[in-house]
Amino acid sequence: MAAAKFDTPELKDIPVIPAIQEGVMAHSSPFIAKPEHQEPLGFPGELVDNWQQVALDKMEDLTHKYRSFKVYLDSCVKCGACTDKCHYFLGTADPKNMPVARQDLLRKVYRRYFTLAGKFFPKLVGAVDLTKEVLDDWYSYFHQCSQCRRCSVFCPYGIDTAEISMAAREILDTVGVGQKYCNEIIAKLYKIGNNLGLPEPALVDTLEGLEEDVEEETGVAVKYPVDIEGADVLVVTPSADFFAEPHIDGLIGYGKVFHQAGINWTLSSYASEAANFGMFIGSYDNMKQVALRIRKAALDLGVKRIVVGECGHAWRVAYSFWNTLAGPFDFLDPNYPVPQHIIEVTHDLIKRGALNLDPSANDEHRVTFHDSCNVARATRMGNMPGGQFILPREVIKASVNHFYDMAPETIHENTFCCGGGGGLLTDDLMELRVKGAMPRMQALDELVREHDVNYLAAICAICKSQFTKTLPYYNFPMDMIGSVHGLVSNAIQLGTKE
């Protein structure tokens, strides 16, 4: 399937809600997982014969296991408040990308088989039988949701389409129709320990190279240690941080921060990945297995704290789910939050005067910050609600002289997804990714025009990878996207505090 040609959406001066165009994205769906990507995760290799029954059984099972699923399927009043909130709808105009319509793909089957109204009056309430066409629609459109939860902010009942998407993907996996990108990555993680399939020797090599580079550039021997038993801090970070641009600047930054603060830290080759794609496929079991690797690494190395690097959904899983899935973490030092985000660490050190930062080192950068959805709408930092918006901005402002925020309706809990989250960061979905990035690009464009902003800072590996690819479609330079700790890294004055 060669990538179809598509037009990049035009950036308008003011955001416009498109008129609906039915079916324009029906062709968009990711590659299907092969048996070798499915089976290590506990799913059938391909579509099972009695898939209808299996799907309905799974659906029923989920209504007993997840209150969110049950309540959200029953409670929608079709008010339409969410219809213009999804970046994929705004970018594609396909009505099935309106959150409520996306939920309805599943809800109409739920109504048909599990509610009286749908059993007796299907036409009246829009209930339909579970056919192959419906299944295909699920596969297409539940893979056009980045589970960013923007819709849940605006729904009067807090209906979270991400929850429905996760459930739908779990049903799809259960009948044997998995998504290649996510499932292949999870299988790789089980085998090698990280999403990129980077084996231990390669990791050690990479980090040694990094130490040399940093020493060459700064004259200071900053360490990037792996598997150090008895270190105080275990850092888990997305594996993209080990070599991809601009991610690696973030990792360099973490090392400099620890170096200057005199904190004894380590990475783990066994748990060399913070990302947990189990969440994207809605699989509690897989999410748990991935999370348990990190617990094991922390126990084996005997660390006192776990710190999570710049990754949005990894932080969600860590912040919201680790304690549930892999806890209790009572073997760690209770004086620190478990887990802690690298931003929280750096923020705290800045507050305490433990870092010397010279913001003029970043004077060439006119910076804005992209709130990543999982951080913004599903986690917290610090100890007050909304700390996840405040702390990263304070870290940036301590590191740069020129900072500008994008329009208020597009940041904080209203933030627009980068367009590549939720397991959609794959080349097979390029059209969707480019179109879904449109609302974010629009807000960025405004700042570029008004303030010559030239640096889009983010704390999520997916956002960074996605923007690297999509910025050029909108005529922005691809290196405009950068790590927050990349800015810290430039500003930090090594050798001035020992």
Partner: protein, 240 residues
């Protein structure tokens, strides 16, 4: 007499369906676990904060206000018009109405018009906004039509063709005390009460469940404290 009998039976059936149906729903929602913390942030970090957040949702429709001002305006006008009207109706179920029922009486009457206005506004959106038209099924239209029918027939009785209020009140109190009194045989009243009974019966089987759902929505009712408090569902414990 046969009208009285028919409506008496209808109202007993409707009441039992409404109460039992709703109780069953609430029971299932309450017993279905929420295995993971999924509060939509920025979320309160205390129970009191959560109560305050939910109260703002229920009373002010806060999220809807953020989302779309027109829908909020019509939706809020309809719901709060209806609330006043319902409270005003307590006069028909109590021998001597409480003083506050008398107090809201004059507002309650005009609230009927506000309610109707809200309903027409909401219905207009279903035709005029392409996105809302796309997501509407026949039942969404019928539900609005039903509510409009209830509000309009009620207003007709108040302002156009008066009904024997004393008779209605005796009938209603008689139903509650199993001491049956004849129902006044006015066609508009029969339409009004018939539609109300239909609404009560379909309530637990329809999207009207949002009234209960909002309190059970994990994104809204959870405390944001997953790092501080371990949160494990029973089915997940069993799997440990």
């Amino acid at each position: 007499m046969s009208v009285t009998l028919a409506y008496s039976i209808l109202f007993y059936v409707a009441t039992v369906t409404l109460v039992a149906g709703l109780a069953y729903r609430i029971y299932t929602y309450a017993k279905t676990p929420a295995p993971l913390k999924i509060a939509t942030t920025p979320a309160p970090t205390t129970r009191a904060g959560v109560a305050y957040r939910l109260a703002r949702e229920v009373v002010l429709f806060e999220s809807l206000f953020k989302a779309t001002k027109w829908t909020w305006l019509f939706g809020w006008a309809f719901h709060f018009g209806m609330l006043l009207v319902l409270l005003r109706h307590l006069r028909y179920f109590t021998d001597t109405p409480w003083f506050w029922v008398n107090l809201i009486q004059p507002f309650g009457i005009y609230a009927g018009f506000v309610m109707l206005l809200g309903l027409f506004g909401l219905w207009a959106r279903r035709f005029l906004v392409d996105r809302v038209r796309y997501i509407s099924s026949p039942s969404d239209h019928l539900m609005l039509l039903l509510l409009i029918g209830i509000a309009a027939s009620g207003l007709l009785m108040k302002f156009v063709s008066h009904t024997d209020i004393v008779g209605v009140k005796n009938f209603a109190i008689g139903l509650m005390e199993f001491n049956f009194q004849p129902m006044p045989e006015s066609p508009i009243l029969m339409v009004h009460l018939g539609l109300v009974a239909v609404l009560m019966i379909i309530f637990p089987f329809s999207k009207l469940l949002h009234a209960a759902g909002v309190f059970f929505s994990p994104t809204r009712n959870q405390v944001d404290n997953p790092r501080e408090v371990r949160h494990v569902a029973d089915w997940a414990k069993d799997a440990e």
